[in-house]
């Protein structure tokens, strides 16, 4: 049994629990905070934040950050910056960018990197609906999509490369529509004519009548109101969307089938993140809550209350995650993985019949026709994964000395997840999803895959024939597990190389682990009086069983041909008390591990990296927070490390410079 940095320290006394009743007092802005694993500190290098001239926080374009290797891209008001970003290893001058673009009459709203060979392709979504594709390094080209705005006139809300693809990308708009673009196709100057391709509960997918000669290839109409964020699962099999209508929808991307749904307690859902192993989805929104959904069980398993306003960003921290070796889990994983290719090919052939020769499906039937569509075209699976995951950097995985050893123990499973959230309340919350919460009710049969490979595309016929991946289904499943495990073990890296663990922590002693878990649970629930979740485990499970008796039935009902009932099935009043939207007392209500005011303006970005994490706020500041015991890695000496208990306020100059 292994034990990570987060599990090592038994004491939670260092962590400050938010008392939601603490109100009225003006809180100071924190530049450091303590968790079980140690002290996180704001990197005070002079260049770690940027001052955006002419920016007013009233403008509604959240500052977002995209990373790719040593590159960071962020938007602030009418400007887009691409900078070298060495994290804490080198001073970064965000005011001296590699590429900076100013837009007139519109704003950049979102962006996504794609890196292959030595090309860096950056997609930028704009507020009037257009999409820009550029290479910020070589600056050789710059393409515009939806230039005439005939495809969609509304704001681009999120843009994502299709995992493993060099030329397919998805664009979501505030109109509630999502388009699949192919990089080398023209957009045309007339409104596209669509025909219905597939529909289901609360969504419909159309294809362009002109077949695959122009963009978009597909148009997904999802729910009502703006699609606020989209996210591919790290295994790249699933696409999840959150909308203003309050729904999280999870689709099997290739078969275009709705796999599951969550309804917010109330209000729109604003943000989304997958767990590194693709098992859980966390969403945040206008109900001030974070909500955790289990792909396996197709139900909401927990909510978190700690924010004082809307939750703008949720992000898993794959580096602070507890991993455990579990021999039996290996068998489970294999059993389930081996089922998958069959199911998958069935679905694919089904969709092929419907679509005749739709572009991205056709790629699955033949490797030679459209090689550019190969979702695994560019390099080895692990690089693939890293390029497209927002949670892991490619460098760390590849450099990691742990990787090789981890291949000997592919059966590790994550037992406790860490994730963070930032919101309009200017606060950062860190949350822990412990084993007690993620453990399934006894006796429930597993209905979905335990461990998804980040390169699930390797099960495509095309990919199996690729030289990178073994063609045997069994072996490719095994590889899949390996890759997932790499990820898990990578999360162990900080604990095994860092000094933050107490020397007496016995990694192999199961009791240490158990103690830790219990400790966390009790600390996270102790101050909620009306919380039905207790650490009397048996009781908790009983409640789950009782309250979620509908769960299996509901998930079975997600048949796609029942669109006629979709209005009724979307009724939030009817959904309350179901696995899609449980009542407040029907699932554990988590409290944050820590909850800190870390900015003056509402926070708009949160990205976890190996040695640090990055936050951004509406004012246009980018903040780097150094993880515990990572200060010695820094070449630039920071200001003297304050003592653990010190909670100094940010220096005054952070407040200024807002025009």
């Amino acid at each position: 049994m292994n034990c990570s940095a987060s599990a090592g320290q038994d004491s939670v006394s260092g962590a400050t629990l938010l008392n939601p009743s603490t109100t009225g007092k003006e809180e100071t802005v924190k530049c450091q905070f303590v968790t079980r694993e140690g002290t996180y500190k704001l990197f005070k290098g002079d260049n770690c934040r940027t001052t955006v001239v002419g920016y007013t926080p009233q403008t509604n374009t959240p500052v977002k950050c995209s990373f790719s290797g040593d590159l960071i891209c962020f938007n602030a008001a009418k400007e887009l910056y691409v900078c070298n970003y060495k994290g804490i290893k080198n001073a970064t001058d965000l005011n001296n960018p590699i590429d900076k673009r100013s837009y007139k009459g519109l704003y950049p709203t979102c962006h996504d990197f794609n890196v292959f060979a030595d090309n860096v392709h950056l997609l930028v979504g704009l507020s009037a609906g257009q999409i820009q594709l550029m290479d910020p390094i070589k600056k050789e080209f710059c393409k515009l999509y939806n230039e005439e705005r005939v495809i969609d006139k509304t704001k681009v809300t999120c843009i994502k490369w299709v995992p493993g693809s060099m030329n397919l990308f998805l664009v979501s708009h505030s109109s509630g529509q999502l388009y699949v673009y192919k990089e080398d196709l023209p957009c045309g100057s007339t409104t596209p004519h669509y025909q219905l391709f597939k529909q289901g509960e609360g969504f419909a997918i159309y294809t362009c009548k002109t077949k695959s000669t122009r963009n978009p290839l597909y148009r997904w109409v999802i729910g009502e109101g703006s699609i606020n964020e989209i996210a591919f699962s790290p295994c790249s099999k699933y696409l999840a969307t959150v909308s203003q209508d309050g729904f999280l929808r999870v689709f099997n991307y290739d078969t275009m089938e709705l796999v599951g749904r969550v309804r917010s307690y109330f209000g729109g859902l604003l943000c989304i993140c997958w767990s590194p192993d693709s098992k859980f989805v966390v969403v945040g929104g206008e109900d001030d809550l974070v909500t955790v959904w289990s792909l396996q069980e197709k139900r909401v398993i927990a909510r978190g209350q700690g924010h004082k306003s809307w939750v703008n960003v949720v992000a898993f921290d794959p580096y602070t995650t507890t991993v455990r070796d579990a021999v039996d889990s290996a068998n489970e994983a294999f059993g389930e993985e081996s089922e998958t290719p069959a199911t998958r090919s069935e679905n694919i052939s089904h969709s092929l019949n419907d679509s005749n020769h739709l572009q991205h499906h056709s790629s699955t039937s033949s490797s030679s026709t459209i090689p550019s569509l190969n979702r695994n075209h560019c390099g080895s699976p692990s690089i693939e994964f890293n390029n497209h995951s927002t949670h892991l950097t490619c460098n760390t995985v590849n450099k990691s000395p742990i990787i090789n050893s981890s291949r000997n123990s592919p059966s590790s499973i994550i037992t406790s997840y860490r994730f963070g959230s930032v919101g309009q309340d200017t606060q950062l919350c860190l949350w822990e999803l412990t084993e007690d919460i993620i453990k399934q009710p006894v006796g429930r049969s597993r209905t979905s895959i335990l461990l998804h490979s980040p390169t699930n595309g390797s099960q495509h016929p095309l990919n199996s024939s690729s030289s990178h991946v073994s063609s045997s289904a069994q072996q490719s499943a095994y590889c899949s597990n390996l890759t997932s495990t790499d990820k898990c073990h990578n999360t162990l890296l900080p604990s095994q190389t860092g000094n933050c663990l107490p020397n007496n922590c016995n990694y192999l002693d199961p009791d240490v682990y158990t103690d830790h878990t219990t400790n966390t649970i009790s600390s996270s629930t102790s101050s909620t009086g009306n919380n039905s979740f207790t650490n009397k485990h048996g009781q908790t499970r009983k409640e789950h069983k009782k309250n979620f008796s509908l769960a299996s039935r509901n998930s079975d009902k997600n048949s796609l041909n029942k669109a006629s009932h979709s209005k009724l099935n979307d009724d939030p009043i009817k959904l309350l008390g179901t696995s899609i939207c449980p009542r407040l007392d029907e699932v554990p209500l988590l409290e944050p591990l820590i909850c800190k005011k870390i900015a003056h303006e509402r926070l708009t970005a949160l990205v976890f990296k190996e040695d640090f994490f990055v936050t951004a706020c509406q004012e246009g500041y980018i903040f780097t927070w150094v993880r515990p015991n990572k200060w010695e890695n820094m070449q630039i000496a920071p200001s003297p490390i304050p003592s653990i208990d010190e909670e100094a306020a940010l220096v005054d100059d952070n407040e200024s410079t807002v025009v």
Partner: protein
């Protein structure tokens, strides 16, 4: 102005709006926007408007001629609702004159507090209705054995009244006592960079009564330390939330505005229901927002945004404009602590949603 109206009408036609709805601006009679904004917000609270129009219809038949604030309001709403055109302006002259006659507070040309007016209007209507009811109920109809508070219940209570329960637990003997309190609207303390739902949740936080604030426990027959919390026992059909944006500053001897940014969702549930028993938590939809623009209670302007048939409209005295839903965020307030003036939400009206099945 005429151009503006036809522009709105054009936009409404573009929406292929076939419903019979009227969007009329109200003429300002010198700082009467506090009144106009509330009248517009209430007009678009369908249950309220419906009752006012019913009252008008009933009054016609009964030919009751005594002018009250309610008859003036009924005339005004009726006048708007029976216009041939969909858009235009109306002068609420009679209503304003009646208001000034009835209450000296409003008998001037100063800017008034819209919430004060809102509260005054609802209470006056409730009193008028209760008086009419007891006047009619002389005779055989009175023997149904209802208690006083029930017989005083009017459609104002049916629409706006909710019940708070004050729970106090004696820390000495652990006995719990609770006291119910009815409300027509909730006045909510606000904090910077929060949501209205958070501010409402804080409302219910447990408070410890100690030292000079000790609680007299009937069980212990002495003053004891106690824990108190306020929860919502009964949710109203229309939840009216008043944001406490005007704070009295002793140093300046006047009220000053708190322009904090408080976000409000288009849909909400309350976190502080006393219990989940007795039906589901109501899901509310935002139907109208009264917005205060400017630096203080006696300086500034009031406007209203309302939702009607799926789209949003902005009413600024005689002006009416269609508004994109994304513009609502302009009215959350501001994050700057130095700037006091703002266009920020002041009264929020949420209406309980009926299930799609039952409607």
């Amino acid at each position: 102005m005429g151009g503006n109206i036809s522009q709105l009408e054009k936009e409404l036609n573009c929406e292929s709006l076939t419903v019979n709805e009227h969007y009329f601006g109200l003429v300002n009679f010198g700082n009467s926007c506090y009144c106009n904004s509330v009248l517009q917000a209430l007009y678009f609270c369908r249950p309220f408007r419906q009752k006012v129009l019913e009252y008008k219809a009933k009054n016609k038949r009964v030919s009751q001629n005594k002018e009250t604030l309610l008859t003036c309001l009924a005339d005004l709403y009726h006048h708007i609702a029976t216009q041939k055109k969909k858009t235009g302006t109306v002068a609420p002259k009679k209503f304003i004159a009646r208001l000034k006659k009835e209450n000296v507070v409003f008998d001037n040309f100063l800017q008034q507090d819209a919430h004060e007016f809102f509260n005054y209007l609802l209470n006056t209507i409730a009193d008028l209705l209760a008086a009419e009811k007891s006047g009619n109920q002389t005779g055989p109809t009175d023997n149904n054995g209802k208690n006083n508070s029930d017989s005083n219940r009017t459609w104002i209570q049916d629409i706006f009244q909710g019940t708070l329960t004050n729970e106090t637990r004696c820390l000495n003997c652990e006995s719990l006592s609770s006291k119910d309190e009815d409300f027509l609207d909730l006045s909510v303390e606000i904090q910077q960079n929060t949501s209205i739902t958070h501010c409402l949740r804080v409302f219910s936080n447990t408070e410890t009564l100690s030292s000079e604030h000790k609680y007299y426990c009937e069980n212990c027959c002495s003053k004891q330390e106690a824990q108190k919390r306020m929860r919502i026992k009964k949710l109203p059909m229309i939840l009216a939330l008043h944001l406490k944006r005007f704070k009295y500053m002793e140093s300046q001897n006047r009220h000053t505005k708190i322009s904090y940014r408080v976000v409000f969702p288009l849909e909400l549930r309350l976190f502080n229901k006393a219990s989940n028993k007795g039906g589901d938590d109501k899901l509310y939809d935002l139907v109208a927002v009264v917005i205060h623009c400017g630096p203080g209670p006696n300086r500034g302007h009031y406007i209203t945004i309302v939702k009607s048939f799926g789209f949003w409209l902005l009413f600024d005295d005689e002006m009416v404009e269609k508004m994109d839903v994304s513009s609502i965020e302009d009215f959350y307030g501001i994050t700057s602590d130095t700037q006091k003036s703002s266009e920020s939400c002041y009264i929020l009206l949420y209406q309980a949603r009926e299930s799609m099945l039952s409607s």
